[in-house]
């Protein structure tokens, strides 16, 4: 019977602290850089028991915009995490692992620098827990409720969403819109020339 329990959080966070510096070399974007992230993901998926990504999946980590850098580096750190022997030996995590890398890391990579997933204890734990959740595994020795609570407390994306939705932010936005609309109808100040 396959595991329903995964490895311990300690094991995964320890692995993250050991992430090799090579994983932080410049990812290839628009023909520049050193690390070909699609090739790394391709090898990982095969190691996890899957077939190499084909079609659009094969292009998922090929990027042409400079601001994809942190996403690609986050994917590299996550790929290092997924290379843990536990996942590789099971040979059944290729599909959820690919989906996690492809669909879920973009949001968190906008909020957290990839390096923090290695250097910061909370962010290491967050990535480890995100990974287990994506693979439908429970951390060793934890109940489902405890695992969910703990991830909820660490969740960068949820925290950011909450901050954006707070009444204070909304109120501020409303005040600015009102002030700008009112001032638009009124006069501004003299300028020495157009656009000066």
């Amino acid at each position: 019977m396959k595991h329903t329990n995964g490895p311990s959080i300690d094991r995964l966070t320890r692995r993250l602290t050991e992430c090799p510096a090579d994983f932080f070399r410049e990812p290839v974007i628009a023909g520049r850089g050193i690390v070909h992230v699609p090739a790394v993901v391709n090898d990982l998926i095969v190691d996890l028991g899957g077939a190499p990504p084909r079609g659009t999946d094969a292009l998922a980590f090929k990027r042409s915009s400079a601001d994809s850098r942190n996403l690609l580096q986050t994917v590299m750190v996550a790929a290092w995490l997924l290379g843990d022997e536990f996942f590789v030996e099971e040979k059944r995590f290729a599909t959820p692992a690919f989906n996690w890398l492809n669909n879920e890391l973009a949001a968190v990579s906008k909020l957290v620098s990839a390096e923090l997933f290695v250097s910061d204890p909370d962010r290491r734990e967050e990535l480890a827990r995100m990974c287990l959740k994506a693979l439908r595994l429970l951390p060793e020795g934890e109940t489902k409720e405890h695992a969910e609570d703990r991830l909820g407390a660490l969740d960068s994306v949820a925290r950011d969403k909450l901050a954006k939705e707070t009444a204070k932010e909304e109120e501020r936005a409303r005040k600015l819109r009102e002030a700008m609309a009112a001032k638009e109808a009124a006069e501004s100040a003299a300028k020495a020339g157009r656009e000066w």
Binding site: I29, A30, R32, S64, S65, A66, D67, S68, R69, N70, S109, K110, L111, V112, S113, A114, E115, L116, S119, D120, R123, S156, K164, E169, R172, A173, K175, L176, R177, A179, M180, K183, E184, E187, S188, A189, A190, K191, A192, G193, R194, E195, W196
Partner: protein, 470 residues
């Protein structure tokens, strides 16, 4: 429009004091003298500088640093900019959204997602720093080079800093005007179908006068009046756009300015030469946008434009968002500034150029922008044959609410206006049509369509396909 009738001995009206909190009796006398000049244009706007006594130390310090600490060429942002960006991360959501927690700003600079005009146009509240006091907010609107209708928040203090920048530019050409309440510092020249026309005094310039005029026949009793008025104003220097300057020549305006500063659009060599010949003074091209303020001025040695402010970092980016190789052509992108309501992080201007070091021995160490490709000027033709400028069209469109537009005059003279609406805000197509018809005349064929596909497209917001030989 002007409600301040002249009564000898009368105190400065309260409304004027609100507009010009630091105006003196001498300054007000000068202002009245300008407004009541018998040859004056039809004033249609009232405006002050809104500078208060609390603003003065800031402007003074800015001026001192501007003259004293010039920027230097660098392929990466200076430490002062990195520090400023880190500080802004704590205050502005737009910065936080681009700077993940733990980012090494200097090292990962190239990966920082640039701001765009769309961010300024649609989400200014995300850029506004959390500690900004909006009680001093003023706004300017612009249609700009990408067709995004945009209202730009500003602070009177920042506008005062722009005057210091003007002084710096003039000084580089050996021009040091004496500003005082007995003279007009500057006349700003435009030639548009419709624009604001007003007089003002600048407290930052010791109560010197400023006049904005429009060389359109509708604004004057006669062209002769315009000639007389400008001659009587005898400004130390002119500002204006190339269209206004060309009209100035056409109308035979006589003047003896110390300098002429061109803004808003690229100044062609032929017009520059003609202006220099006719007015016997330096003609200085400048690069400025409403969102960033003044950015560069044509270097006196003729080699491109020198970056003007010392509180911005200018870089040139390729389409992917990477800085181009040194000296290559790229989109000019700005970080920094002094607008407390609009801190900019890698803001793509839509203008292009190559950034290079200044020539050896240059008096100004600031980087140069060469082969500048700014916004071109597109003209259209109204039903009666008169020329309608893109600024006029922009002004007419800005009365309406939408995210982006493209205005095209087809070869047969008809107009096609594509509008990308703001989600949830209906487009007032009838209103847009009416505004445009007021410029082009009744009988003008016109089609206004909604087009969501404009989003993210690099389009020319104004295009004229008219066959001028028809």
């Amino acid at each position: 429009m002007v409600d301040e009738s002249i009564i000898p001995g009368r105190a400065i009206p309260q409304q004027r004091l609100e507009r010009n909190p630091l105006i003196t009796a001498d300054g007000y006398r000068l202002l009245r003298k300008i407004l009541d000049n018998p040859n004056a244009p039809k004033w249609n706007y009232e405006v002050g500088d809104r500078v208060t006594v609390d603003d003065l130390p800031f402007i003074r310090d800015y001026r001192r640093l501007l003259f004293g600490e010039r920027p230097v060429f660098s392929v990466s942002p200076p430490a002062s900019i990195i520090e400023w960006v880190a500080k802004m991360r704590a205050k502005s959501r737009a910065f936080r959204d681009r700077l993940p927690e733990g980012i090494d700003i200097a090292r990962e600079w190239a990966g920082i997602s640039p701001m765009t005009r769309e961010d300024v146009a649609l989400r200014p509240q995300d850029i506004l720093p959390v500690d900004a006091d909006i009680s001093r907010l003023i706004v300017y609107d612009t249609s700009g080079s990408t067709g995004h209708a945009m209202v730009v928040p500003q602070h009177p203090r920042s506008m005062g800093c722009h005057l210091a920048m003007m002084e710096f530019v003039l000084s580089r050409y050996g021009v040091f005007p004496k500003f005082g309440a007995d003279s007009v510092a500057c006349v700003d020249i435009g030639a548009r179908v419709k624009t604001v026309v007003f007089a003002n005094v600048f407290s930052v310039w010791n109560q010197a006068g400023f006049v904005k005029i429009n060389l359109s026949p509708r604004e004057w009793t006669s062209i002769e009046n315009a000639r007389r008025f400008i001659s009587e104003m005898a400004p130390a220097f002119f500002t204006g756009d190339p269209v206004g300057y060309a009209r100035m020549i056409k109308w035979g305006i006589e003047a003896k300015p110390l300098a002429m500063v061109s803004c808003a659009m690229k100044l062609g060599t032929a017009l520059k030469d003609e202006l220099e010949k006719r007015y016997r003074c330096p003609v200085i091209d400048t690069y400025s946008t409403t969102e960033t303020g003044p950015l560069a001025y044509s270097a006196p040695d003729g080699f491109g434009m020198s970056v003007l402010p010392n509180d911005v970092y200018v870089e040139a980016l390729d389409e992917s968002g990477f800085p181009v190789a040194q000296g290559e052509m790229g989109e000019l992108t700005i970080t920094g500034g002094r607008n407390p309501y609009l801190p900019l992080l890698r803001y793509r201007t839509g203008d292009y150029g190559r950034i290079v070091p200044p020539p050896m021995g240059s008096a100004d160490t600031a980087p140069r922008i060469v082969d500048f490709e700014g916004r071109g000027v597109v003209s259209f033709r109204a039903m009666d044959g008169t020329v309608v400028g893109q600024a006029d069209v922009g002004l007419a469109l800005r009365k309406h609410v939408f995210a982006q537009s493209q205005f095209v005059q087809l070869a047969d003279g008809s107009l096609e206006i594509a509008i990308r609406p703001i989600p949830g805000v209906p487009t007032d197509t009838d209103g847009i049509e009416e505004s445009v018809l007021s410029l082009f005349g009744d009988g003008q064929k016109i089609k206004v369509v909604e087009d969501d596909s404009l989003e993210g497209k690099k389009i020319a917001p104004f295009r004229c396909e008219l066959d001028e030989t028809r």
